[in-house]
């Protein structure tokens, strides 16, 4: 597992039913591209997050495939419909098999 991986997500606390909200996510990750060389000229092996998904109450919002060309600390901003109160689940899949998740609740009112 890569060191110090911390997901950060910003979701509004409440929305009206059917409203479209904007979600911002950031996860601290080195995203080693596999192209760089260390001081001795050896290739540093690739180590990136290769997939990110966001679901709301089990329904998919966005599913992103990441390649090494995504910057360090992958950031995403996207929009989601909120049909009812519930929970957003954010999942990041690391090359080494680690899975990082975060959840955010939202109320409708």
């Amino acid at each position: 597992m890569a060191d110090n991986v911390t997901p950060r997500v910003r979701v509004p606390k409440s929305a009206s039913a059917g409203e479209v909200i904007s979600i911002k996510t950031l996860i601290s990750h080195i995203m080693e591209s596999g192209q760089r060389k260390d001081g001795d000229g050896n290739l540093i092996p690739r180590s990136i997050i290769n997939r990110f998904t966001c679901d709301f109450n089990g329904q998919n919002v966005i599913d992103v495939t990441l390649e090494p060309a995504i910057s360090t600390n992958p950031y995403f901003e996207f929009q989601s419909t909120v049909p009812e109160a519930g929970t957003f689940t954010f999942t990041w899949y690391d090359d080494d098999g680690s899975v990082y998740t975060d959840t955010k609740d939202i109320t409708v009112g």
Binding site: Q59, D63, V64, T65, A69, S71, E77, F78, T81
Partner: protein, 138 residues
Amino acid sequence: MSYTRRDTLLIGLGASAAAMLPIGALADVAGDIAAFTGGAAVGEGGITLTAPEIAENGNTVPVEVSAPGAVSILVLAEGNPTPAVATFNFGPLAGAQMASTRIRLAKTQKVTAIAKMADGSFVQASSEVKVTIGGCGG
């Protein structure tokens, strides 16, 4: 100046090596596009790619793609060692078919976004980004 037989051979080798390099990268781009579209024709319009004209730091270049009615959007950077950048697949709850992120660009190049629409058609948009400092280490 007259060329010896050995010089001629070397020049020929150098020229063919130089010719091979860009063709290899371009074939890779074409392969990525074909894998995404399945060989279908790619139209224009209906997709917006927002990228800066000049990026001082190729390590984090903010880009935004938006294609109302798209099922998925593929982003390619043709001048990178591996052209594929990201694929966004939109689920049933996506509020709008847009996403923004930050990407790495190795050098000044054209960034392309291709969207697959709900009816199975494809559209693309491109943007030229000037990069002052490349973002692939070295």
